[in-house]
Amino acid sequence: MGGGNIAEELCPNCGSPMEIVKAEGMDILRCTSCGYERPLMAVEPWDPIEGKLVRYSIIAGIILTIVLAALINVYILSQYS
């Protein structure tokens, strides 16, 4: 389980540890020795494969919820109500 310190990310430029700092309202990773900066979280466009992954998961989830709930209710839970 968690606790402990936030893992260190090493600078791709010089290999030194990077620290998280706030600048202009953004969290950025800054190298402690060479000053190289990169955003902690950049903005990435939504990829079509993400849409497929999400869509198929939700469709599968809804279908399985209905089918499995029907089976469980008919064959198991009906004995307890």
């Binding site: 389980m1 606790g3 893992a7 990435e44 989830g61 919820t65 499995l68």
Partner: protein, 497 residues
Amino acid sequence: MGERRWTKGMFDTEDWWAFWIGIFFVILGLVAAATYNVETKIGVDLTGWIVSFPKWVDISKSLSVDKYHKGFMSGPVAAVVSYVIFTIATCIGARAMKWDVKKYFVAWTIIYWLTVIIYILSRNAYIQATSLELKKYGIEWSLQLGGAHYIAALIIGLIIGNLAPRGFREFLRRAARPEWYIKIAIVCLGTKLGLKGIEATGYAVHLILAGCCATIAAYLLFWPLAYTVSRKVFKLTKEWAACLASGISICGVSASIATAGAIRARPIVPVMISSLIVVFAVIELIVLPYVLAYAPFWGLNEPMAAGASLGLTVKTDGADAAAGAILDELLRARAANELGVQWEEGWITAAAVMTKIWIDMFIGIWAFVLAVIWVYHFERRPGERVEKMEIWWRFPKFVLGYFIAMFAIWGLGLGGIIPTEALKWGIHPIEGPMRHLFFMLTFTSIGLVTDFRELKKEGLGRLAVAYAFILVVIIIPIGWFIAWLFHHGMKPPVVKP
């Protein structure tokens, strides 16, 4: 990747060592049971030394041994013997995992005896006796706080973990291993379902099937919704969103780490998310059992659904089983006081653990799916293949211990190989006192490792808001609905007179 064998981690990971230790004591109980003669009531007592903590009004009766082994040894001696044997077992594991055994030993010793003291004090009958037990203890009133020992251990742990001098709390954290202790306890819980299943086979099978179906349904909805909200509402990148969605949907820290491994996220990503998961799981552990125990819709109306909902919504194994244990105590106390019925102990906890165990098993499968998508679609690494063995490597091994323990007892009991009475005699100290003790160690440890200062750290702000939002808006409502849909109407079996 190609050089890794299926035996990887078998003797140097916490997960496997929970399996080994749990299974070792289960086998000890089975050997004892095999030697037990039901007519002479004599057998080789290999498990009667495990200390138990009954409710008390006279403190000299606050320590005991299992109810089937009365007179085997005194309670205080059992506490010392349990300390010695569990210390040896966990130190062997610690050594195999290459921890600093000397420091582990000292920290474990402090945590063990601190837990024992908390356990004794909070089991006082004036604190915990139900209205049905007042006569038994010769008292006229009680606070009737079922599960007070768990909350007390958590609170003391939190106080030390957040307020004690830094050096001391860091030292104690060497042996504060909630995930390890709870996994050992969960293997022990398998014996409970095994024993109960002999008498109520149909009910146990129903619980297993309902838990499995609920988990499949919930998981396939949790992950994509959590991912979409992370990406579209909170503008997280793919690596952050995938790890956050796995952490909050599956089984917390390990899912987040497994996903990070599968998609090759930067190391900072799962670690930051893990610290959030741990803190939020403790908040859920404190809040949810009381909400579920007293909310009109849940409470005494839907005890098993309430238990199952914890497995779907509390995202660490330790906090989930711990919350299940509190809910179990609260609801059984309410049922005794308000309905005049005594529900069997452990079924509500089993419902919480069962859904969690199924959800844990998804880690391997989902890590595999994500690895395939990342390798073949996002990163397009030429010539790289994802091994199917990833599923096995990511599989939580303590779950094997849980099922092996359960099915071994089922098989031996239902097959008539060992009489049920003998199985109870040998296994009950593992199923009851040992499991409860490791639950308590888990609570103390959760408190010790939970540092609320983590929330103040730079970079966690947006993640914390995203986590809280997804938990409250997606995970808890859907988890509650699914748990109800697959468990409604189920009540724990009533204790036979």
